[in-house]
Amino acid sequence: MKRLLICLPLSLLIGCQSNTTQMACNASESEWYEFGQNSAITGKSVRIFDAFKQQCAKQLTPTAQKSYIDGFSDGLISYCTFDNGFKRGQEGLELNQSCPLEIRQEFEKGYKIGKKTRDEKLKQAEFARREQLRSQQKKYVAPQKH
């Protein structure tokens, strides 16, 4: 699973052989940056980097973490928006805790509204379902009266 984690995000990596893990450890600064940025934009946790730290150990380039975090931080600016919060809320996912305090306000607002919208929709659907059920029950009960 870990190996899969390592392999998937890096665009330059092909396959999941052990030598590709080696490549990931030696990835360039810009690759780490891009990986961090993509991770944030797709709502992943910053902690996915832990897997690299564990697997690569000393093979990890010294600047890898900084580049990854820089990319992730920049990615969060794109990610922590009203729209993404709304989308996440609407999809019924949990509130993502990745957004830093100073930029999370809009994201959380979006999430609440998205969740409310979803809840409303679900409520309406439930209401409609019950209504339908009730009308069916009415139809079924009515002939007996006659």
Binding site: V46, R47, I69, S73, L76, Q97, P100, L101, E102
Partner: protein
Amino acid sequence: MKNLKQIIIAALLSQSLCSTVAFASSSYSQFKIEVAPPTFVLPQFTGPYTEKEANIAPEELETAEHLKSLLEQGKREQVLKELEAFYEIELSVAMIMLKAQLYFALEDYDKAEQAYLSSLSRSPQLIRAHSDLGQLYLLKGKLEKAREHFSNAISYGSQDALIYGQLAYLNLSLHGPYSAISAYQQALSLEPTQEQWQQGLFIALTQAKMYPAAQALLSELIAKHPNDHKLWLNQAILKLELDNNVEALASLEMAILLGNEQQNNYKIAAQLHMQLDSFDRAVELISYHLNNFDLEMNSLNTYLTWLGQRGLWSQSQEILASLETKVQTMSAHKQSVIYFHHALIAQQLNSTPKAVENFKLSIEKNPNNGMALIEYANYLASNKQFTQAETLLLRAEALNDSKKEALLARAQLYVDLQNYQAALKTLKNIANQYKETKGIWQQITLIENIIKTKEQQKT
């Protein structure tokens, strides 16, 4: 011929034959009273919990409480270790600030700087980060950067007297007094009794030559604290700036009376007394200075030269006598200076054997004492021992500090011997090496004329 001798002697004197005299003369006109310079003080580590600018994220409250209890137990390293386990992006700015402050407190300045910069990249208007980073840069000697962050802290609304004071200090150091006055005034308005800001404002006003304002500030402070010797020193500085030496001396004496123990101030007070002809007090101060502080040869030279210029030989003797017990424990270099002055006094008092003995001792203790070589040579020349005198002058010429004076003395020696060709050659040598020497070309022309006249007389 007598005229020519006088002219060259005058030239010798005017061209600072004796460097000690030159030192004494130059220091006579430039008084520089020693006062404590404006300083900065680093604030104590206080922790971030009282800060309102950066908030802790709700999900961090539990961790924050835990860290707070560790901090209260003084476990700073452990707190840092726990904070370092997080990626910075996972922490709120408040937590990064805590990290930065801990690094700062543990004197890991590079990491502290990085953490403050990281806080500012996320919250650029964070006053506390700007002010702390300013302190850090101040400590690291990066004054321009420190100034920039203090200035930012104030721009974003800091009302901390310390920040105004630091900005004022940096402006004073980097951009001159005018840029510091307003910030010092702000600091003083927030902390009216803080001595640092009073002193800083006074220095800035004085440097900006705003003397009435400086005097008004000082008068107010002296009225409040009449026994503060630092204020009297400031008063002395101000009076000297205003060329009022009498009042400057009175203030300086007051400062000394109230316990000011800065060495240079004794020297200046003595100098001012000499200038105002109050010799007894001058000698008293000189003796006190020489006997209570590390004996510094420049000061001794200066004092004895002043006294010599005024013909106060017995006072000079008195001063040297007071040092008699210490002489054997002094370095050879210092002993050489003392024997040299003994020789000069003996020479003035016509005590020939003693003069010769002391000149010899002085040169023996320090063969590179150029002044002793020259003065002894002059003494020998005046006693017609020209060959010996010439040898000593040639030795003095080998020393950079006394080269010019030795050359001038040798030129004089040749004039005394009526060896005008040698005198001319030596004077031309001086003119080539020391082009700034005033009157040298007149001397050369004069000697050339004498040579011509002599040749005409022969034909």
